[in-house]
């Protein structure tokens, strides 16, 4: 009995850093954030409770909030399905016993290794209307390319295009999933007279749906939190065409010092992500789980 008690106490000792972090950097800030979201707060003066006014302002008379919501939603709905589909297609090709798999995989995965400001600066130069490589190549075939990031009609589209550079991240996971499909399933399919299409439709695809599901979810959550590219490449412009949600939140907090309003925005973001997560889970009937398989995997 004393052994049990000892182990119990020891366990909390192991968990002590996490428990402290959980209380100081999660529970405390969550409560404070909820409180701030119901207040007027500019850091200099103490918070003044205003009820739900922040949330009312947002939806009733802040066109920029609605705009940032729309922009981020468009980005999510365009970029995530494209990245998932293209990454999956490339993985399918690499799964066809091609030669030099390691080399191909390195080439496709490499862009996923780098990110942040350095990559953002690279994109600004790649899509530079005059000196950039994209418009230069287009000129070779006689097309005068748009101004990309500096054209309000093209800026968001261009950001979506640049996001496709990261298809390799998901691709590696799909490929690993495909290579983990037991060969006896393919053999069984072949015995039933199934060709390439049937093998894909009835073996590869169902067996890799959990991996697709995982990447879809991670992709949606990530796309609602886009910040660096919007800040560095376009700084929300031109004409607020790329005013992503988190950039809007950052400006409210650190440019205009409306910490109450920014906190309310953060909570709305939390609920948006929560709703997307729930919807993705609720509509996940297409995901195939073989419980056997789950037990075998480590």
């Amino acid at each position: 009995m004393s052994m049990r008690l000892r182990e119990e106490l020891e366990a909390y000792l192991f968990l002590l850093p996490w428990i402290l972090g959980f209380l100081i950097f999660l529970v405390g800030p969550l409560a404070a954030s909820l409180y701030f979201s119901l207040a007027d707060y500019n850091i200099l003066q103490p918070p003044k409770l205003v009820g739900l006014a922040n949330y009312q302002t947002m939806f009733a008379d802040d066109p920029l909030f609605l705009k940032s919501l729309r922009i981020t939603a468009i980005y999510t709905f365009a970029s995530v399905p494209l990245i998932v589909t293209l990454g999956y297609l490339v993985a399918l090709l690499l799964n066809q016993k091609v030669r030099g798999l390691a080399v191909w995989r390195t080439i496709f995965y490499l862009p996923a290794v780098v990110s942040g400001v350095a990559v953002a600066v690279m994109w600004v130069w790649v899509f530079d209307p005059d000196g950039g490589i994209v418009n230069n190549l287009l000129r070779l075939v006689g097309i005068e390319g748009p101004a990309w990031f500096t054209d309000p009609d093209w800026a968001l589209t261009t950001l979506i295009l640049t996001s496709l550079w990261g298809i390799g991240g998901g691709m590696v996971v799909y490929l690993a999933g495909m290579q983990g499909v037991p060969t006896h399933l393919y053999e069984a399919c072949e015995l039933d007279g199934g060709g390439t299409w049937n093998r894909f439709r009835h073996v590869t695809l169902p067996m890799t749906t959990p991996v697709i599901f995982f990447n879809l979810l991670i992709g949606i959550i990530g796309s609602w939190q886009v910040f660096t590219n919007a800040f560095v490449i376009t700084n929300g412009g031109p004409a607020n065409a790329t005013l992503f949600y988190v950039l809007f939140l950052y400006r409210q907090g650190w440019k205009y010092h409306k910490m109450g309003y920014a906190s309310a925005l953060a909570w709305v973001l939390f609920f948006i992500i929560l709703i997307f997560t729930i919807v993705v889970f609720k509509t996940s009937g297409w995901v195939y789980y073989e419980s056997d398989q789950a037990d075998q995997s480590k």
């Binding site: 182990e7 402290l20 950097f25 530079d128 939190q225």
Partner: protein
């Protein structure tokens, strides 16, 4: 290939021709997509060694008339590279050490120790995965302001010493579970304490998982932008990511020709990406493995 074809019967020949054609198509698609992904990198490298008048030349030159390494020395003279590199390294290494310690301790408790709140606490850890960083950002920022930690590295480091990073606790716990428990029991019989088992049995056997945590954390910290831009003000505290952003703004404001700016910007961006690329080439196995552990099995 052709000699093989001649010795085969007609129907197999037709099938082989079909195979060769589809495989040629596969390689064509792979090469096209691969080239598209590599062009931005190549374009950066080429631009970084170009002369001023070549940068905006139309049509684009892929091979500079002369490789101007002096662009690199000039860029390093005007860009605080070593200061920012040192800052970034210091933050990244501190976060990695703290995260490895705190998350592996917590993961060990969840994987190997018996205590009454094990399941509810683990569910709590997982549920924190859903909370976006931005919800706790504002109160955390205010807390650090009150502590006088603004413009120090502490806000970037301390939370990671307290087990922040539920995803890594989950990942390590999954890995620790796969270590055969007989090893645990043997060590216990030999009079090993839980800490002894953790330090001398589990950790040495979990090098691949620890490497994964290290790599992911490295990339995340190296490229982070939001937290450094909020917490670090003075230029001698800047990380590479913010230093580039400031370099860019000052470059366009200081009356430099855009030409010179672009070559130099490509230099500093490349130098910032280089450690991530090097890490990838030297630890590719752990990269792929890590992506697979977290993506396929997670």
């Amino acid at each position: 290939m052709s000699t093989q074809l001649q010795s085969l019967p007609a129907w197999r020949q037709r099938r082989s021709v079909h195979m060769v054609m589809t495989h040629t198509l596969y390689y064509l698609i792979l090469a096209t997509v691969g080239t598209m992904l590599m062009v931005p990198f190549l374009w950066m490298v080429v631009s970084s060694v170009k002369a001023e008048h070549e940068i905006f030349s139309i049509p684009t030159t892929w091979i500079p008339e002369r490789i101007r390494w002096e662009n690199y020395t000039h860029a390093l003279e005007s860009f605080p590279f070593f200061r920012s590199l040192l800052n970034t390294l210091f933050i990244t290494v501190s976060v990695i050490v703290g995260r490895l310690l705190s998350t592996s301790l917590a993961a060990y408790a969840f994987a190997r120790m018996r205590f009454r709140l094990r399941t509810p606490l683990f569910v709590l850890v997982l549920s924190t995965l859903m909370i976006p960083y931005h919800v706790t950002l504002i109160p955390t920022y205010i807390l650090f302001t009150r502590l006088g930690w603004i413009d120090t590295f502490l806000p970037l480091i301390v939370p990671n010493w307290l087990g922040l990073g539920a995803f890594y606790i989950f990942l390590l716990r999954q890995f620790f579970m796969t270590v055969p428990s007989e090893m645990n029991d043997a060590a216990r019989i030999d009079g090993c304490s839980h800490f002894g088992i953790f330090a001398r049995v589990i950790l040495p056997l979990s090098i691949p998982a620890l490497a994964t945590v290290t790599i992911f954390t490295f990339l995340e910290q190296w490229n982070d932008f939001l937290a450094p831009i909020i917490y670090l003000n003075s230029p001698d505290k800047h990380t590479l990511a913010i230093a580039i952003q400031f370099y860019r703004q000052s470059a366009s404001g200081a009356g430099w020709g855009p030409v010179r700016t672009w070559a130099h910007l490509m230099v500093v961006s490349l130098l910032t990406m280089a450690p991530c690329l090097l890490l990838f080439f030297f630890a590719q196995r752990y990269f792929i493995q890590g992506v697979v552990i977290s993506g396929v099995k997670g």
